[in-house]
Every structure is written in structure tokens, then in C-alpha cells.
Symmetry: C2
Subunit: 191 residues, 2 copies
DNA sequence: CAGTTTGTTCAAATTTTCTTGAACAGACGT
DNA sequence: ACGTCTGTTCAAGAAAATTTGAACAAACTG
């Protein structure tokens, strides 16, 4: 029973032997997710859950990663919101238990769908707005300036085309269909 | 000559009429690039240059975006480093001039290549390290713990497989070849 | 219904990242 | 060679984010 005891008895020196490896992997995933625009801890927490055969409680997670319970609550809540972690519970237990959504692919799809696509659409809108704004000022301008505005207009069209190609690409990715990056390339070829 | 004068005379109220539109687009791109893990200003600067028919000086950029010269220098330097902006110069002029690399696609490729791929590779390495670490401890463990370690080992393999699929996918993207996202899906199907 | 246990929210404090102005360095013209 | 014009670097200050402990709320137990 050495390790079962070690798991809980002494807060200092009694980490299970695999803890080191676990944390290493969690950290790598944390960096990945941070780069990706999420909180570092989200990646860490998810990984710990993903590597655990059993659902875990917030207390266990806090202990494993040495976090305050509020930090766990916050990041875990966000993970649940993203569908990366599921709340489960056990009959007879009061605590909530958490387990990782194990289909990483499904997860990535959701993220791309909710975040990347929205952002690209906003950008597309902004480019459109800018163009409309230029249209309004155009009549007030004389020769040189008018040429300048026309140039900007053309460039904005190119940015829009590109963004739309990007949007299409991400949508295909989300739908799991084949993607041809050459589409992006061609979106900026007619000038 | 009204607008040519307006461009430079009065620092306060004399923005060219298209400035508003320009800034709007620049801001959208700034948000995109920030989300993307770069400095906000890199997107802004790049857009201003992209929308300008002529190469611009750092002073003009600073004035347009209301930035200090050091901020411009910093972000512009990084853009040059990423190949998103080129330094040019004009005979007879002492200042440096900058123009946007207009092939956005080429740019994206470089970014994915240098950043995303490196990060994924680091993660793959970390997962491998963690597994090796588990292998070392395995012999010291008894029944239950050993099963637990084996479980973690299997999960780490899955993470590795997934990351490698991701790496392959990005490499194809960079090479401009067709991509089948189903590869990712299948990378986590054998359990 | 009072007392625990568990989870969430909030404001304060810490850490990290960005921004700035000034000092520095290089290049050019005279 | 000197003075001027540019661009870069650096340390200090400002702003933004993360983190935490404590207060609060909700759910269950006896």
C-alpha cells in the first residue's frame, strides 16, 4: 500500500513516482495552449485529467498542480465551457468529478469554429466598413488623393478576398473535408 | 493642394480624409495578429504599409498611428525579421523606407513554419520525455500503480500521435499541398 | 434547521508585458 | 573632423493580466 498511502499522507515529499512525468507532459500542453491563446492552466489541467484513468476532483487537481482552489475553479470552468472537460459525479459523493473530453479532434473543431471563425469574420466586416468609408470620402477628393483612395480600396479588396479564403479554409477544416491551400494563394493573384 | 498641405502642416486637425478608414482596417488586422500571438502594433504597422502606394518612413508611421519612434522601431524590426516588411531606400534620401511584403500567403507560410512547427515539435519531445520517464519508474512499482503508469503511457502515445499528425498537417499546409483533416481524426481512433 | 462541505465570485496584490523618453551609436554631408 | 539626422537599445514607468485569499452562495447531512 506504499503508494496509495503516499498519494495522500504527507503534503511534502510524497508524490507518486509518475508525478514528474505527468507534470512534464502537462507543462508542454500548457505551453501549447498558451501559445494558442488560452490560459496556461487550462492546458495543464486538461492534461492531468486526460492522463488519469479516473475522473478527478478539484481538490486533487489543485494538489497535483499546486494551485489555489479558485484558480482551479476558474480555468476548469472555462474548460467545461469549451467542452474540453466534462463534469461527472459519483453516486454517494458530494464533490463534482471531472474528466477530460478525450476526442481532441472534436475539441479542436469547436475551438476553431467559435474563435478563429468569429475573429476572421470580424476582420472581414472591418475591411468592408473601411471600404464603405472610403467610398463616402471619394467624391470630396481631387485627382491625386482620389487615386490614392482607389489604391487603398483595391488593397482592401485583396485583404477581404484573402480573409474570405481563410474563412472558407477553416470551415472546411472544421467540417473535416479536404483542403487545398492553393486557394489562399490564388486569392491574391489577380491584381 | 489642399490635402497635400493637410498631410503635414498641422499636427492636430489635419488628417487626410482617408485616415479614418485606414486606421479601422489597421486595427482589425492588429486584433487578428494579436490573437495570433504577435504584437498588436505589428498588424497595425503592416496594414498601413500595405495600404500605402509608396514606401513609408518610420516618422510617417509613427505619426499615422500616434506611436513613439521606439515603438515603431521595435515592431517594425520584428516585422522585417519575419519578412513581412522590406526595407528599401531612395537615392538621395537618408531615411530608410519601408514597404509591406504583399504576398500574405508567403508570409503566413513562413510564420507557420517557424513558430507553429517548432512549438509542436517541442511538445512532441516533451511527451516522449515523459514516456521515457515513466519507463524508468515502472520497474519500481507494484500492481495497481503499474497499471496506472501503463495507462498514462498509452495516453501519452495518443497525444504524440496526434501531435505528429498535426505536424504533418502544418507541413503540408506550408508546402501548399492538399490536406486531409481526416488524418487527425484517425490519429486518435485506435485505442 | 443548524452545521459542513464544496464551488464560485470578487477585489486586492502580484507578476508580466508594453510603452515611453532619453541616452547611445552610426552614417552622412559639409 | 564636426555637427546633424536616423535608428536602436535600455531602464523606468504604466498598463494589463494572472493569482490569490476571503467572503459568499448552494447543496447536502444529521
Amino acid at each position: 500500500m506504499s503508494s496509495a498511502a503516499a498519494k495522500q499522507q504527507d503534503p511534502n515529499d510524497s508524490q507518486p513516482l509518475w508525478r514528474e512525468a505527468e507534470l512534464r507532459a502537462a507543462d508542454a500542453m500548457g505551453r501549447l495552449m498558451e501559445f494558442w491563446g488560452f490560459r496556461r492552466h487550462m492546458g495543464r489541467l486538461w492534461t492531468i485529467l486526460y492522463l488519469s484513468p479516473e475522473p478527478m476532483t478539484t481538490a486533487e487537481l489543485a494538489e497535483t498542480l499546486q494551485l489555489s482552489s479558485s484558480a482551479v475553479s476558474l480555468s476548469l470552468g472555462e474548460l467545461v465551457h469549451w467542452g474540453a472537460v466534462r463534469k461527472t459525479w459519483r453516486p454517494g459523493e458530494r464533490k463534482d468529478f471531472y474528466q477530460a473530453e478525450s476526442s481532441v479532434w472534436k475539441l479542436l473543431r469547436r475551438v476553431y469554429e467559435r474563435r478563429e471563425l468569429n475573429l476572421i469574420r470580424e476582420a472581414i466586416d472591418a475591411f468592408g466598413d473601411a471600404q464603405r468609408h472610403l467610398d463616402e470620402t471619394r467624391s470630396q477628393l481631387g485627382g491625386e488623393d482620389r487615386r490614392r483612395v482607389d489604391y487603398m480600396h483595391k488593397r482592401l479588396s485583396r485583404l477581404s478576398a484573402l480573409s474570405k479564403a481563410g474563412e472558407r479554409l477553416v470551415r472546411l477544416l472544421v467540417a473535416g473535408r479536404m483542403i487545398n491551400p492553393a486557394d489562399l494563394q490564388s486569392a491574391e493573384e489577380e491584381d
